[in-house]
């Protein structure tokens, strides 16, 4: 299963949600499918994608928030699982694309390649709904279910360690940031 296929399969379901991605392949690939003003790409600060989603979800409890995380990023902030679990916002869906690799820096294996089970970590941290998925259909079903369910959900999607050839896109970081904030302002 490829990350890009996963994103393509659920792209239409992101409408109306606030979407936060981490840096690297997931940001570039989501943009390649078409940038939307409700997408924010955190192009550094590894580990803080989930924290940003948590802040949004707690401040906007009526708004669905989706975080696209990665194994390299979440491994830098495993405590973030425990903080999400502590407040368990019902409107937060956390997806980890686990390619067992720090792909964008040359493909160095992460600890998930040697057995660290992120679903197990999330469950033990207290996240109420957890699933690991390996196929596209299974991913799509799990994601759609998480979007329907009114419970904090963390999905670990095992994907191939392949990505785009480059990571810099035409969208300036600040343009994205101001557009995203403006989008939220206009929801009210």
């Amino acid at each position: 299963m490829k990350r890009l296929e996963c994103l393509r399969a659920i792209y239409d379901k992101l409408e109306g949600s606030l979407v936060v991605t981490i840096m690297g392949a997931v940001a570039t690939e989501l943009q390649s499918l078409g940038h939307k003003p409700n997408f924010f790409y955190l192009q550094h600060a590894m580990g803080l994608g989930s924290s940003t989603g948590l802040g949004l979800a707690l401040c906007l409890p009526q708004q669905k928030v989706v975080v696209f995380d990665g194994d390299g990023s979440i491994l830098m902030n495993l405590g973030g699982y425990s903080t999400m679990a502590r407040y368990r916002p019902k409107n937060l869906v956390h997806v980890v694309f686990d390619n067992e690799s720090l792909l964008s820096v040359g493909g160095f294996p992460t600890a998930t390649s040697t057995g660290t089970d992120l679903e197990g970590v999330a469950r033990a941290a207290g996240i109420p709904h957890n699933k690991t998925v390996k196929g596209l259909e299974e991913f799509t079903r799990a994601f759609n279910e998480a979007m329907r369910t009114n419970e904090l959900t963390s999905i670990v999607a095992k994907v191939e360690a392949v990505g785009p050839s480059g990571y810099v896109t035409g969208l300036a970081l600040l343009e994205n940031r101001f557009q995203f904030k403006r989008y939220i302002e206009n929801l009210k």
Partner: protein, 173 residues
């Protein structure tokens, strides 16, 4: 515990007056009363963190959501947050209001706090983060309001150092 309850109350009321709706915190001795006040306030979203750097992401999310926030942490928590401050708050122009308890400075008896005490101001300066001191309860409200005003007009982190003078009531020998 000789942490000043009265001055913690002054700080909390100042945060409320500034319209703070979310506080992230990691407990440390000087902050215990403040965190309890946030916890007892049904209007306040309190996020207890595992590590202070998470607070940068949470404050950024709150900012995007239109909620004013403050981060409560020890100076060692500031040290632990530096990548997030630089590669999120500064990179993306996020206003952060950081209230940092200034441990390890003159008067500190805990040896383990002293190295961080010496590093705090040089690091704030190196990062270009303006800061002022909260040392006089009569000036707390004004200084917090001014720091917040600057953080929002510049879209940049600002720091307030909570001093021993304000936070600690040393019992008479």
């Amino acid at each position: 515990m000789p942490v000043s309850l009265a001055n913690s109350g002054v700080l909390y009321q100042a945060l409320k007056k500034c319209g703070i709706g979310l506080v992230s915190a990691l407990p440390e001795t000087w902050l215990v009363h403040l965190i309890r006040m946030a916890e007892d306030d049904p209007q306040m979203i309190l996020v207890r963190l595992a590590k202070e750097e998470e607070g940068v992401g949470i404050s950024a999310g709150a900012h995007f959501a239109g909620v004013k926030s403050a981060m409560l942490m020890q100076n060692h928590g500031f040290l632990a947050s530096i990548n997030g401050i630089v590669s999120f708050a500064q990179l993306y122009r996020i206003p952060l209001l950081m209230l940092i308890s200034y441990r390890g400075h003159f008067g500190e008896r805990d040896p383990w706090q002293t190295q961080g005490g010496g590093a705090t101001e040089p690091l704030l300066r190196a990062l270009g983060i303006p800061y002022s001191f909260l040392d006089d309860p009569a000036k707390v409200e004004k200084r917090i309001a001014e720091a917040q005003t600057w953080a929002y007009s510049s879209l940049h982190p600002a720091a307030l150092l909570l001093t021993r003078e304000l936070m600690w009531e040393e019992p008479a020998p």
